[in-house]
Chain length 525, copies 2
C-alpha cells in the first residue's frame, strides 16, 4: 500500500519563501517603526483571542499565493492580543529586549534548521557557541576559571547557552548533587573520619538549597523539579535568608541560620547556595565576597572545613551591566562561585531565549546529565576532544542560538553594548531624580542600575490604584513588587524597569508625566 503514489505535499518553494520572507521582514520592520503607537498592554479579555480563531484546523491548505489571508489574520486575530515587550514604554518586569541583529540571527538559525545536540551534528553550532561564551566571559570581566580552556584541576571550565535562568538554576542543582557523588567517591582513604562520615551520610540525607528571601522564584522551582524540595513552602529544604535594608541577603542572618542548622544530626545537607546579583523585586545585589567569607566561617565552625557546597550566582538581569567595567565590583568574589548565569535576552539585545551559563566544574555538570545510548555514539564524542553540549543541559536537542549572540556582538561591539547599558542607567537616573523632587512619592530602596522602585506615600492602595490607571491608558506599562525593610511590614512598590532597545529619554519623560498626572487624580490620605 505504501508504495503507491501519494499526492505531492504542497511544500513552499524557495522562491515562494523568498517573496513571503521579504513580506514578513517588512511586517517586522513596520512593527519596529510603529509599535510605539500601540497600547503597551493588550486590552484583550480572557477568551478574546480564542474567539477570533477557528475552532477546527483547516482540511485544505493555502497556496503560497493565498498568504494574504495569513498576514491579515496576524493583524486582526493576533496583534490586539499582544502585550508589546519591545514597545519603548514597556517598563514592566525586567526587559526582554530584542534587536535587529538578534532577529537576523534567529532567522538564520531557523533557516539552517540545524540541531546541535552533539559536536558532530554541526561542529559550527558547538564551536561558535564555545567561542561566544569565551567572548562574553571577556566582555563581562569574568575570572579565567570560567573559560573553556580552564583546566581547574581537571574539572574543566566553560560556558553554554541555556534557554533561561530557570534552566540554569536547575542544572546548577543537578551538578551540585553530582559534586557530592564525586566527593563521596574521592574521600575514602585520605580524609579524616569526620570527613568520610560526612561525605557518606551527606548523600543519604535530604538536601537543602540556601538563598535569600528575594531570590528568584526559579530557585525554589528548580529545587522542586530536582526533587530537593517538596514545594515552595518546604522550609526544611529551602533555607531562606532574610534581606537587609537594601533587599540584599543579610549576612548576619545567614550566619545565625547556619549556626543553628549546619551539622545538626539529621539536618539536610546544604546542596547549593544561590547569590542573586540583581533581585527581581528591587534589583538588590547579594555581596558575593562577604557571602563566601560568612560561608567559610560558618562551615569551619560547624564542620571543620571551608565551605564546599555549590555556589551559584544568578545575575540574570544585572549581569548584562558587567560589560561596563565600572559595574564589575558588583560581582567581587565571583572567583569562588561554581557557576554563574546571565541573560543577554533580558538586557543585552539578544532575543529570548539566550541565557549564558558558565561553570568552573563542567565535569560535575556533564556527569550528572550524560546518558549515551548506541544511536548517539560517534567517533568525535568518544575521542573526548569535543564538547557535546547536550550533556550541559536538560534537553537533548538544541537550536543554533550562538548565531544571534554573534551577530549582536559583531554589530554593537563592546563599545556599543556599553553605550546601550549606560544609556538605560542614565535614563533611570533621570527618572529617579524626578521622583525625588515630587514629595508625594518615596523610594524605599535605592535605584539599581536601570530599575527605580517608588511608591505614593501612605497606604498601598494608592500605588496599586496608580499602576492600574497608568497601565489602563496603554501609554506605559509598569509592574509591582512588595518590599519589607527589616522590622517593617511589606509595602507595595511600583517598578520602573527601563530596558527596551527603543526606549529614549522622551518615553521616560512621558511616562513620568503620565504618572504625575495620574497621581493628581488619586486621593491621598
Amino acid at each position: 500500500m505504501d508504495e503507491s503514489a501519494t499526492p505531492r505535499p504542497p511544500h513552499m518553494t524557495p522562491d515562494e519563501f523568498r517573496a513571503l520572507g521579504h513580506r514578513m521582514v517588512d511586517l517586522v520592520a513596520d512593527y519596529m517603526r510603529t509599535v510605539e503607537r500601540l497600547p503597551v498592554l493588550s486590552k484583550d479579555a480572557p477568551g478574546d483571542v480564542l474567539a477570533r480563531l477557528p475552532e477546527h484546523p483547516p482540511e485544505r491548505g493555502l497556496d503560497a499565493g493565498a498568504w494574504d489571508e495569513v498576514f491579515r489574520d496576524v493583524q486582526a486575530a493576533i496583534m490586539p492580543g499582544v502585550t508589546h515587550w519591545q514597545h519603548p514604554s514597556f517598563f514592566g518586569y525586567f526587559p526582554c529586549n530584542a534587536s535587529g541583529p538578534g532577529i537576523l540571527g534567529e532567522l538564520l538559525s531557523a533557516g539552517l534548521g540545524v540541531q546541535g545536540m552533539l559536536w558532530q551534528t554541526s561542529p559550527a553550532c558547538t564551536e561558535l557557541e564555545t567561542r561566544m561564551l569565551d567572548w562574553c566571559a571577556e566582555l563581562f570581566g569574568l575570572p579565567d576559571c570560567f573559560r573553556s580552556s580552564a583546566d581547574n584541576a581537571g574539572q574543566g571550565g566553560g560556558g553554554v547557552i541555556q534557554g533561561t535562568a530557570s534552566e540554569a538554576a536547575l542544572v546548577a542543582l543537578v551538578a551540585a548533587r553530582q559534586k557530592w557523588r564525586h566527593l563521596r567517591a574521592q574521600r575514602t582513604p585520605a580524609g579524616t573520619d569526620a570527613e568520610i562520615g560526612l561525605a557518606e551520610s551527606a548523600i543519604e540525607r535530604p538536601f537543602a538549597v540556601i538563598a535569600s528571601e528575594a531570590a528568584h522564584s526559579s530557585i525554589a522551582k528548580a529545587a522542586m523539579i530536582a526533587g530537593v524540595a517538596d514545594g515552595p513552602e518546604d522550609d526544611d529544604r529551602l533555607w531562606s535568608v532574610p534581606t537587609d535594608a537594601r533587599g540584599a541577603m543579610d549576612l548576619g542572618a545567614l550566619r545565625s541560620l547556619l549556626d543553628e542548622r549546619l551539622g545538626q544530626p539529621g539536618a539536610p545537607t546544604p546542596l547549593a547556595v544561590v547569590a542573586t546579583v540583581g533581585t527581581t523585586g528591587v534589583g538588590a545585589v547579594d555581596p558575593i565576597a562577604g557571602l563566601v567569607r560568612t560561608l567559610d566561617d560558618a562551615w569551619l565552625a560547624a564542620l571543620g572545613r571551608p565551605f564546599d557546597a555549590w555556589l551559584h550566582v544568578d545575575a540574570a538581569w544585572a549581569g548584562s551591566a558587567l560589560v561596563c567595567p565600572e559595574r564589575r565590583a558588583m560581582i567581587d568574589g565571583v572567583e569562588r562561585a561554581d557557576s554563574i548565569a546571565i541573560n543577554p535576552h533580558k538586557w543585552l539585545l539578544t532575543n529570548f531565549d539566550c541565557n549564558l551559563f558558565w561553570t568552573r566544574a563542567r565535569r560535575d555538570l556533564t556527569d550528572a546529565m550524560s546518558v549515551t545510548p548506541e544511536y548517539l555514539r560517534n567517533a568525535a564524542s568518544e575521542s573526548g576532544g569535543v564538547i557535546d553540549y547536550r550533556d550541559w543541559q536538560v534537553p537533548l536537542g538544541r537550536r543554533f542560538r550562538a548565531l544571534k549572540l554573534w551577530f549582536v556582538i559583531r554589530h554593537y561591539g563592546a563599545e556599543g553594548l556599553r553605550a546601550h547599558v549606560r544609556e538605560h542607567c542614565r535614563l533611570a537616573s533621570l527618572f529617579e531624580r524626578w521622583v525625588g523632587r515630587d514629595s508625594r512619592f518615596e523610594m524605599p530602596v535605592p535605584r539599581s542600575l536601570s530599575l527605580v522602585c517608588f511608591r505614593l506615600r501612605g497606604e498601598d492602595r494608592a500605588t496599586r490604584d496608580l499602576l492600574d490607571r497608568v497601565n489602563a491608558t496603554g501609554r506605559a506599562f509598569l509592574t509591582h513588587t512588595t518590599f519589607a525593610a527589616p522590622g517593617s511590614p511589606p509595602r507595595l512598590l511600583a517598578r520602573m524597569a527601563i530596558g527596551a532597545a527603543a526606549t529614549e529619554e522622551r518615553h521616560v519623560r512621558e511616562a513620568w508625566r503620565l504618572i504625575q498626572s495620574t497621581a493628581d487624580g488619586i486621593s491621598l490620605p
Copy 2:
C-alpha cells in the same frame, strides 16, 4: 555620574533591518535551493571552526552598511562546519525538518519579541497555543480527555508547547510525583487501611520509573534530573523491561518484573511508566492497550487495585504520523495515558523547537511547578480564568512558538500534512523493497513508517565500514543503532530515516545506489 550624556547605542534602524532582513531571507532561500550540492556531514575536524573565528570580541561594532563582512563570515567561517539537517540526503538520527511556513513563524516570533510566561504578558501567545494544541489533538485523533476544555473530574486537560521531548518527560515525572502528593492528601478517611498505608509510605520511599530497554535516553536523564535515579545504571530506580523480536516492550517480561518487585517491602514506589511509540533505535511501538491491561493485572495481583502510577506516552517521532487516520491504531489504549508527547519539530515541518505535550491532569502539572512571588501576581491569573503556561514547564519565560505551528497547519492543511507523511512512508517502503532484493543485506526488524533498519550480513564490522564510507562521501548521511533479538547478541544496524522536507524519490534512489556500490568494495566473509 549616570546622568551625563552617554554615546548613543548604534541600534539598527527599522529600514536598515528591512534591507538586511531581505538579504538574510535571500540567503536562506538560496540555501534551500542549493543545500543539495553541499556535503551532508560537515568535513570539519575538531577546532576548525574555532580557528576561523577571532579569539577576542570586537571593541568596535559594525555599521549596518558594513554587514557584508558578516555575510561573508557566515559563508566562510560557519557553513563548512554545518552538518545539513535540511539536506535532502540527510537520513541520520530522526529528521528535524523545517519548512518555509515554519521559518516565517520563527521570524515573526523573533520580530515581535514577546515573552509569554503569563497570560497577561501576551494573551495571544497563550491563547493561540491553547487553540493550536486543540487543533493538533484533533489532527492526531487524540481522545477528548486531552482537550483544553476537558474537565476530567476536576483535574483539567489540555496541551502546551515544550521545547523538547526531554523536557516533556521531565515534567511528566514531576507531575507524577505531585499525583502521589494529591493521593496522599485525599486518601485518608475513605480508603482501605492498605490504601492509606500505601499512599502514606509511597512518598517516603524512593520512586522508580518503568520503561523498555529501548526507551529514549531522555527518560533516564529526566529521572536523574528529577532526583529519582542516581545515574543511568541505577537499576533499582530505573526498571528496564526487555524488548521483543520487534523491539517493543515485552509484556510478559514486564509482568514478571512487576510480580517480582511490586509491593515488596522497601521496594521503590513506581512513579511512572513510559510507553514508547516509535523507539529511536528501530521505530518499535509499545502496545499501549496491552500494556495497560498488564499493568492493571499486575497491580491488582500485588496491590489489590488497578494501575495508578502515571502513564506517559513518548511518541516524539512517530506521533506525527497520527495525522493519517490509517496510523492511529498505533496508539490504541492512549485514553488511559496521563500524558503524551509528540514533536512536530521532528517530522511535521515545524522547526525545532516544538514539542507538543498533552495531559489529562493539568492540576498535577501546575501544582508541581507553580511558585508565585509578588512580582508575578496579576488580576487575570488570580481570577483562575486564564492559563499561565509558565506553570506547565521548567522555564519561566517562553517564546511565541505557536505562530510557527499555526503557519504550518494553515499552509499545509490536514490534507497536506497527510501527504507529507505518506510520501516519506512510501519512499521508505521503496527503499525496503530494494534492500530486500539484494541478498547481501538483511533487515532484522521490520520497517517502521519512514525508518528502515538494515545491515550487511555477517559481522558488524562490515556495516560499520559501510556507514563510514558512505558518510565520508558527503552524498548521504545515515546513523546506526544496535539491536538484539531476544536470546541473540546485539548487532549493528544502519538506520535509513527518511524525513527531510526536501527529500524526493531520486534522493532515496541515489542513496541506495551509493550504499550498493560502497558495499561492492567491502569484503564480506
